[in-house]
């Protein structure tokens, strides 16, 4: 069971959350070319290792959290608020 220490609610099971994918991509500005939007929606590094990702605490505080989680071990290293930039381990 992935467990996420929500900064607002405390340690909770994955079942309380809704996953929203890669949190490293950012929506381009209004005048950006179509290609930039393509990358925002479709281009993914899909790393085998540390992954920064959005989890929405849908059965809790309804906040989007930025979670640093490892895609092999499933270890959750950091749970940050949406506007924070958590550190990503190099290994």
């Amino acid at each position: 069971m992935i467990r996420i220490d929500c900064p607002w609610c405390g340690m909770r099971d994955e079942a309380e959350f809704t996953y929203r994918g890669d949190a490293t991509v950012t929506r381009p500005g209004a005048n950006a070319p179509e290609e930039a939007f393509h990358d925002f929606v479709y281009a993914r590094k899909n790393p085998r290792g540390w992954h920064v990702e959005w989890w929405y605490h849908s059965s809790g505080c309804r906040q989007y959290l930025k979670v640093v989680r490892h895609t092999m071990t499933h270890e959750v290293r950091t749970v940050a608020r949406a506007t924070e930039t958590p550190e990503v381990p190099s290994e």
């Binding site: 099971d13 906040q63 499933h74």
Partner: protein
């Protein structure tokens, strides 16, 4: 005495009470504390099952969850459970069990003839034949294979019992209540932390039973006095998952004839543990030698357990074949219990155990091995020969052959926790290495064997996990040496089984290697080794060793198959728990549900919601009668519909208008206060996400509605953009779907109806035109009135806090009586919207664009919004994409079906499909909506609507989707 193999004393059985049970219809008795296996042994029953492939006779092989052979169909009728291990069934009065996988009887099993052709039924034989003629597989070969495969029979009936789900948290979880686990619990418990101790067996103690009862009793008493310690007997931890979370199954009433009232049969626990101590013990392994599957061959430790725990002699005259001194100790227990001793066969040349045995007067054949067994349905003896000699062998008479090839520490749960396993030379087996998660291992799983040493190791682990004091009283006693001589197989010709349940022999493993299936995973899959219900607990490593030898490598160098869950098979219904039947998913009811029930509505599922589909009247001859009556009321007078399920989101804040402008394809910042506007929302990929009306209640306050299906997803979508993309915007969102009930009053008499009950709002067309929004009251209840229409008629939507719903609804119904107001359901709603050409879920299906649905004009030309950029990709703007059209059957009475495809008459190339159909009330016959390639240009032409599934083809006209009032005049009167 009715139990000839029962010892006069000893064990955890209550000889004062007799329990009656039947096996294969034959009556027996046993005692409380027995398992079915111990009771059968006490009664002298040796033959209990047949093997999977060759249907060889099989007996009780073990005393625990590693049992490969003794599988029963337990109980009968709806409670029948196939494949239940007799070694774990607690005996109770009235127990009914039957052997399985045999026909016509256990003694005379027709398919035992398979043994005669066993060489042909070698590993993977089915991959090499049964291919000709091609059609014979499904018709001939496979049905034969399927019938003879499988083990027991399912009941085929619904389970009369129920199950419970438990959620638990603890600081320290200890798995296993042998000496190590109990000592760990005692130390951890004394620290004051929350401790849980799970033991798969019905009583705690494991090897302490019948060996050190005093320490066991004292420790259990100490633990019982600790309120922070939870003891869970009969609870098997079946799997270890991420973050130190485990799943466990507690057998609550399986030891009873039937569950008492209000008591679950089993409980499924999810335990979130701070730390885990694995005290899971070990499974004894056997040795591969010819006919090592004969009923009467048994693991040495198990034979001892039958004496110590159950007071049962597993035979009259026993011999031992073992490569370790610990097994000798177990064997001595048999001698002490008065079982006749035939001798010990030891592949080692010399050992302390052999000396001890000789001192007890036991014959020891050193440097020797068992090269075969005698007997058919029960063991009569074993053939003993010197190792490496081709000389003569001796047939030693015995009805019990105890076997021990060493022990396999139960590393499954540690391994599932990503702890690497390490090779232990002394045990010749795998043990847990350095854990990655906060976990510990103690006792024999940690290669620390013998009661005293294991308990000390448990105390150490308990202290390490909690910082507690390891100095507790420990059991004493001699330490049995579990060191083994690496000895896996007796290399002589014959059927030497490595997987007893699935009839996998050492030769099968070698054949796999010979054919190139040399990797351990290939060999396992090719031979089915370790794939039985026992998962190779006692034989898995033996097969690996045989494979290693065939490859010329060491067993520790060829690896092990991954230890996947489950450690023991898990009851399906227990995991499903209460979430079955009508509770499989939550049911959502609107605030008006009771009214609909009283009115006799027929209901329909829409997602989790249950909504009225139609309200049949006694005079209606069929469902269409009802639906047409309801829709006609809307078109000609007035109807009322519960639309509470639409999603509702309250949007407030200084930047609310800007936020909505960025989310919708159209503009909301220009919307006047007190007005509503239809809005279209795209996903970022340019496809339509949702639609609905949004009202402006104040400069900084909007009320958004969504479709029923997307209420949750739209809320998440809005929160995503607000929190992660534009966190600088001053906007607050609240989902208020459940807080507001809503009803739509539609039809030419809609105004006249609600005017009678709406107070505080001028509803005249001038004061409250189409798309107006205003607050009012009905019977003193606060309401919000929206002049919006889905049906295409003059219509009002009245929303009210959910608690007032029925009062307001009834007031409107009463007011509409003069106009013969009709409540209408989803079916009529669908009819009306198709007539009007309004899109709904079947067109907003996640693959359509705004222009596909004729909504291209809703895309604003200026400013960014979600989906803008990618909506202009060529694939989404291709003029060849299907467009929304209306269709109508040329022969008016002819039914058309949703899901039919549109083809040029006389062809089979699909050019589009019909998304929804209905009988119409404004015009004759059947109409529908469709998505059609080149739809615009085809308007006015005829095509064929074809449904090969129904064998139907109907000629249809292609029309505008707006069958009713295309100028949209009615909504404005």
């Amino acid at each position: 005495m009715s139990q000839p193999f029962r010892l006069p004393a000893g064990g955890h059985v209550d000889r004062a009470q007799n329990l009656a049970f039947t096996f294969d219809g034959k009556p027996f008795t046993g005692h409380p504390g027995d398992t079915l296996a111990s009771a059968l042994l006490a009664n002298g029953v040796r033959l209990v099952g047949r093997s999977f492939k060759l249907h060889r006779p099989r007996g009780i092989f073990s005393a625990g969850p590693e049992e490969p052979n003794a599988l029963a169909e337990m109980r009968d009728g709806a409670r029948r459970e196939p494949n239940t291990r007799m070694t774990q069934i607690e005996l109770h009065d009235g127990l009914v069990a039957a052997s399985q996988n045999r026909w016509p009887s256990l003694r005379w099993d027709l398919l035992s003839l398979n043994s005669l052709i066993a060489p042909v039924l070698s590993a993977g034989f089915y991959y090499k034949t049964f291919m000709w003629p091609a059609g014979f597989w499904e018709k001939v070969y496979e049905p034969l294979i399927r019938r003879s495969a499988g083990l027991g029979r399912a009941s085929g009936q619904n389970d009369p019992d129920f199950y419970e789900t438990m959620q638990a948290h603890c600081d320290v979880l200890i798995i296993g209540a042998g000496p190590a686990g109990l000592a760990a619990a005692r130390v951890a418990g004394a620290s004051g932390q929350r401790v849980m101790l799970c033991e798969q067996d019905s009583i705690l103690g494991a090897s302490l039973l019948g060996q050190d009862e005093a320490w066991r009793t004292a420790t259990l008493a100490a633990l019982a006095a600790m309120p922070n310690v939870t003891l869970l007997p009969r609870t098997n931890v079946f799997g270890a998952y991420d973050a130190n979370v485990v799943g466990a199954l507690e057998r609550v009433t399986d030891h009873m004839l039937a569950s008492p009232a209000h008591t679950p049969r089993q409980r499924y626990w999810t335990i979130r543990a701070g730390k885990i101590i694995h005290a899971t013990g070990a499974h004894e392994r056997f040795i591969a030698f010819p006919d090592n599957d004969r009923p009467g061959v048994m693991l040495a430790g198990s034979a001892a357990a039958y004496v110590r725990r159950f007071g049962v002699k597993a035979g009259r005259r026993a011999m031992l074949f073992a490569n370790n001194d610990a097994a000798f100790e177990d064997f001595f227990t048999l001698q002490d219990a008065g079982i006749g001793i035939a001798g010990i066969v030891d592949p080692r040349t010399d050992s302390a155990g052999a000396e001890a045995a000789r001192a007890r007067g036991i014959t020891v054949w050193a440097d020797s091995q068992v090269i075969g067994t005698a007997g058919t349905l029960a063991l009569q003896g074993a053939r003993v020969a010197r190792r490496g000699s081709s000389g003569t062998d001796t047939l030693v008479a015995a009805d019990l052959l105890c076997v021990s090839g060493g022990i396999n520490p139960a590393v499954q749960l540690a391994s599932q926790s990503r702890t690497p396993v390490e090779w232990n030379e002394r045990l010749q087996s795998w043990v847990p290495g350095t854990p990655i998660l906060p976990q510990f291992a103690a006792g024999s799983v940690n290669a620390v064997t013998g009661i005293a040493a294991a308990a000390a190791d448990g105390a150490r682990a308990g202290a390490a996990a909690t910082g507690g004091d390891a100095a507790i009283s420990l059991p004493t006693g001699a330490v049995a040496d579990a060191t083994v001589l690496p000895f896996w197989e007796v290399s002589v010709k014959g059927k030497s089984f490595v997987d007893i349940q699935d009839d996998v022999t050492a030769d099968d493993i070698r054949l796999a290697a010979r054919e190139g299936y040399k990797h351990i995973e290939h060999a396992k899959r090719y031979t089915t080794h370790t794939m039985g219900t026992d998962q190779g607990k006692s034989g898995g490593l033996i097969g690996a060793a045989v494979l290693a030898a065939a490859r010329g490598e060491r067993v520790q160098d060829i690896g092990m198959p991954t230890f996947r869950p489950f450690t023991q098979p898990v009851t399906w219904g227990a995991i499903a728990g209460p979430n079955i039947g009508k509770h499989f998913e939550p049911t959502r009811l609107t605030a008006l549900h009771d009214w609909h029930v009283r009115r006799g509505a027929e209901f329909m599922d829409t997602g989790a919601w249950v909504r009225p589909g139609l309200y049949p009247a006694p005079a209606d001859s069929d469902a269409w009668d009802t639906v047409l009556r309801e829709a006609r009321a809307v078109r000609r007078s007035v109807g009322i519909c519960d639309v509470s399920t639409l999603g509702k989101i309250d949007v407030q804040g200084k930047d609310a208008a800007v936020f909505l402008d960025r989310l919708y394809t159209n503009t909301f910042s220009t919307l006047p206060i007190g007005r509503a506007r239809y809005g279209l929302m795209l996903r970022e990929d340019g496809i339509i996400f949702d639609d609905g009306t949004t009202s402006r209640l104040a400069e900084d306050h909007f009320f958004v509605t969504t479709t029923t299906a997307n209420a949750g997803p739209v809320m998440q979508h809005m929160e995503f953009y607000l929190q992660t993309v534009w966190p600088d915007l001053d906007v607050t969102l609240a989902s208020v779907t459940d807080q507001w009930a809503a009803m739509s009053i539609a039809g030419p008499n809609a105004r006249a109806t609600i005017q009678k009950v709406v107070e505080g709002l001028d509803l005249s067309n001038e004061a409250f035109p189409f798309m107006a929004v205003g607050d009012a009251t009905v019977k003193g209840c606060p309401v919000r009135v929206f002049r919006i229409s889905f049906s295409g008629e003059m219509a009002y939507e009245i929303a009210t806090p959910a608690g007032f719903a029925e009062t307001v609804w009834q007031a409107v119904i009463d007011a509409g009586e003069a106009f013969r107001i009709e409540p209408y359901g989803l079916e009529a709603l669908g009819l009306l919207r198709i007539e009007k050409g309004h899109v709904a879920g079947s067109e907003l299906n996640g693959t359509t664009t705004a222009s596909d649905l004729g909504l291209g004009k809703m895309i604003k030309k200026r400013g960014d919004f979600v989906g803008r950029a990618l909506a202009s990709r060529p694939g989404l703007t291709d003029p060849g994409r299907p467009h929304l059209v209306g269709i109508r059957s040329v022969s008016r009475g002819e039914q058309i079906r949703a899901g039919s495809h549109l083809v040029e008459t006389g062809t089979t190339l699909s050019l589009g499909w019909i998304t929804g159909v209905t009988r119409a009330v404004e015009l004759d016959g059947w109409i529908g909506l469709a998505l059609l390639e080149g739809g615009e240009a085809r308007k006015g032409t005829r095509m064929t609507a074809t449904s090969p599934l129904h064998g139907e083809s109907v000629e249809v006209e292609i029309l505008s989707p707006h069958f009713v009032d295309p100028e949209n005049a009615r909504v404005r009167v």
